[in-house]
């Protein structure tokens, strides 16, 4: 996976609370291999009516070029399904801006190059008002941890490890395998002291 340091794209508002991962991708699509692409499943039941027709005034249908999503609190709550992140990424999103995120969703996002960008609720409300039903150009810089949208500039916090992973497109497996010696030593010590912790 390629890393990124700065991204400029179109931000779109989806001003809802608690957009859970069951909405981001309904369970019935989750058996699909990733190689087939997940973008078409994103928010499927919100974007399409029962016959599968695209709902014209749904923000993502109006702005399929958007790459930054702005939503209300508790985004990505619920199921641990990483497919929710695949759907966002395959649709073209690089970042989601919200006041709070489901914990597992946020880790999954970072593992797939998607930034969960957390801002104060009132700042998110200002951005939502600014966007209205339209798109606006926004720039996110991971080095400086800043978001520029319209004439405004907002700083944000991001754990250092997450920043590094997003910027370098790092994969944890490679990083961890470099620590193999420490892992083996830990395992041996644990086995000696807590032998019962291995299944009988």
């Amino acid at each position: 996976m390629a890393g990124w340091t700065e991204h400029t794209g179109q931000a779109v508002a989806l001003p809802l609370e608690s957009i859970d991962t069951d909405q981001l991708i309904p369970a019935r699509f989750m058996s699909t291999p990733r190689s087939e692409g997940y973008g078409r499943f994103l928010l499927h039941d919100m974007r399409r009516d029962k016959d599968g027709t695209a709902i014209a005034d749904m923000p993502l249908n109006r702005h399929p070029e958007a790459s930054i999503l702005v939503a209300r609190r508790n985004f990505g709550s619920g199921s641990s399904r990483e497919a929710a992140v695949y759907a966002l990424v395959d649709f073209g999103f690089r970042a989601v801006i919200a006041p709070s995120f489901g914990d597992i969703f946020a880790s999954n996002a970072v593992n797939n190059g998607l930034l969960p960008l957390k801002l104060d609720p009132q700042v998110v409300e200002e951005i939502l008002v600014g966007l209205g039903g339209d798109c606006a150009t926004a720039t996110i810089n991971l080095e400086t941890c800043t978001l520029c949208i319209g004439d405004d500039r907002h700083g944000f916090d991001l754990p250092d490890k997450w920043r590094q992973k997003l910027m370098n497109g790092w994969d944890d497996i490679d990083l961890t395998r470099d620590r193999q010696q420490e892992i083996l030593a830990f395992r041996a010590a644990r086995r000696a002291e807590f032998g019962w912790a291995w299944p009988s």
């Binding site: 019935r28 990733r34 508790n74 641990s80 999954n108 497996i173 807590f194």
Partner: protein, 467 residues
């Protein structure tokens, strides 16, 4: 030595290394995988890596398990393919598997404890958010995503940043027919669906101590619905009695040394939590959800919020939720007619749950159709020995095999669009039980009450008549 919490003890015991920014690499004692883990196995295959610790990895068929037949030639769609993929991956990597026709098959969070795979003092991961269930044993158990599952498969370790700690103390005593499910929905409605986000929860207090292991599992299971990635309860005599003699639990000398260690786990007197929450258990009534988030819950005696009483942002969300649910603001929640009921899931599919539901259903007829899917085949057999299956069937409900079933509908057990289901599950999200499905979460006893009256009903009078 400074006083430490249960969480701190478990955490420090599993840290392999810690980086300057606080990211820690933790050892994983148990890794549980299911059909949904196919993405992670594909990642592993893509790199040509083996599973690091096959002995610590257990595979379970649950999400796609058909519940009305066990003959895969009778079912279509994704079901056979997803189950066969898991079986193939388990065979390739030499993993123990609880397959579809295994007499021990069931939902991963039910059979982990049932088999003694879940123990106090362990770290337990699974690519499923309700892994928090296993915290009921005093284990550090949390759900992870597919990339993390691949990481655990490849290394038997997981990167985590230490969460803050929160203690939820439930004081007093629960009233009749009030259960762990009601306690959970109560605190989530107070703190919000993201109220415990970033925290590891420890549940404490007399109400928690008095809960059976089944009840404790229900409570910890729902931690994630309040935003907490993990919830835990200090192990005690009830825990040890439950674990002892289970197939994968320690035996002989191992048991003695485990017991010695487990006794040291409870939070020390004076240990400090980042946040303390106290709930009066005596005031909790049987609780139901009215909206599309678990935080949108109220006592069965309560009234659906009137929009003008809510702050503007809440009112907008509530209007949407009520519209989806087909409910009127400002009306009592009791009396809302339901179309069907479901009893099962990793939240409330255990033997005690079935007993509570059967106590209400016995000798009564369900007014609406419903499905009862036990959490495991072992639970199923035990229920049959106790005659509970007859109670369900005589009431007119369908008694089927174990699996996730109508909790998520991946196996085809779906709620039709616009239909209202009283459900003992954990998520009332839009479309969770099927596109357009309207889910009300509640305890199994409350589901049984909804079945026999055909509407959302306070279960207490129905039980009082019996005592």
């Amino acid at each position: 030595m400074t006083a430490r919490t249960l969480f701190e003890k478990l955490w420090s015991q599993h840290v392999i290394l810690e980086e300057a920014d606080g990211a820690s690499l933790l050892w994983v004692d148990r890794h549980l995988v299911h059909e949904g883990s196919h993405h992670a196995f594909a990642k592993l295959a893509g790199r040509g890596l083996p599973v690091a610790e096959p002995d610590l990895t257990f595979a379970v068929v649950d999400h796609y398990a058909p519940t009305r037949t066990r003959d895969l030639s009778q079912v279509h769609g994704d079901v056979p393919r997803m189950i066969e993929t898991l079986e193939r991956n388990a065979a390739t990597h030499g993993l123990r598997i609880f397959g579809l026709n295994d007499p021990r098959q069931g939902i991963v969070h039910v059979i982990g404890p049932e088999q003694g795979i879940t123990l106090p003092g362990l770290t337990i991961n699974c690519g499923d958010s309700h892994t928090s269930t296993h915290g009921a044993f005093g284990a550090l158990a949390f759900g992870i995503g597919a990339t993390e599952v691949a990481h655990v498969l490849a290394t038997q370790t997981i990167w985590q940043t230490r969460p803050k700690t929160m203690r939820i103390t439930v004081t007093g005593e629960l009233g009749p027919a009030v259960s762990a499910k009601d306690v959970a929905l109560n605190w989530i409605s107070k703190l919000g669906a993201d109220g415990a986000s970033g925290y590891a929860i420890e549940y404490a207090g007399p109400v928690v101590r008095a809960l059976s292991m089944e009840g404790r599992m229900t409570l910890c299971n729902l931690s994630i619905e309040g935003g907490g990635r993990l919830g835990m309860i200090a192990p005690d005599e009830a825990t040890f009695a439950y674990v002892k003699g289970r197939p994968f639990a320690p035996k002989g000398d191992d048991w003695d040394s485990a017991m010695e260690y487990w006794a040291t786990l409870p939070s020390d007197e004076g240990a400090v939590f980042d946040r303390e929450v106290t709930i009066d258990g005596s005031e909790i009534a049987p609780t139901v959800t009215w909206g599309t988030s678990p935080e949108e819950a109220l006592p069965i005696t309560g009234t659906i919020p009137a929009l003008q009483d809510l702050p503007a942002d809440k009112a907008a969300r509530a209007r949407d939720a009520l519209d989806y649910m087909g409910l009127q603001p400002g009306r009592p929640i009791a009396g809302t007619p339901v179309d069907q009921v479901f009893i099962g899931s990793c939240t409330n599919g255990r033997i005690e749950d079935l007993r509570l539901a059967a106590a209400v259903l016995k000798g009564r007829k369900a007014q609406v159709p419903g499905l009862v899917s036990p959490g495991s085949e072992i639970v199923k057999r035990q229920a049959e020995q106790e005659g509970l299956d007859r109670v369900f069937k005589e009431a007119g409900l369908e008694w089927v095999d174990a699996g996730c079933s109508m909790c998520v509908g991946m196996n085809g057990d779906l709620v039709a669009p616009g239909k209202r289901c009283a459900s003992s599950t954990n998520r009332n999200f839009r479309g969770r039980q099927g596109r357009g499905a309207r889910t009300h979460l509640m305890s199994p006893a409350m589901v049984a009450a909804a079945a026999v009256t055909g509407k959302l009903t306070d279960v207490r009078p129905l039980l009082e008549e019996r005592s």
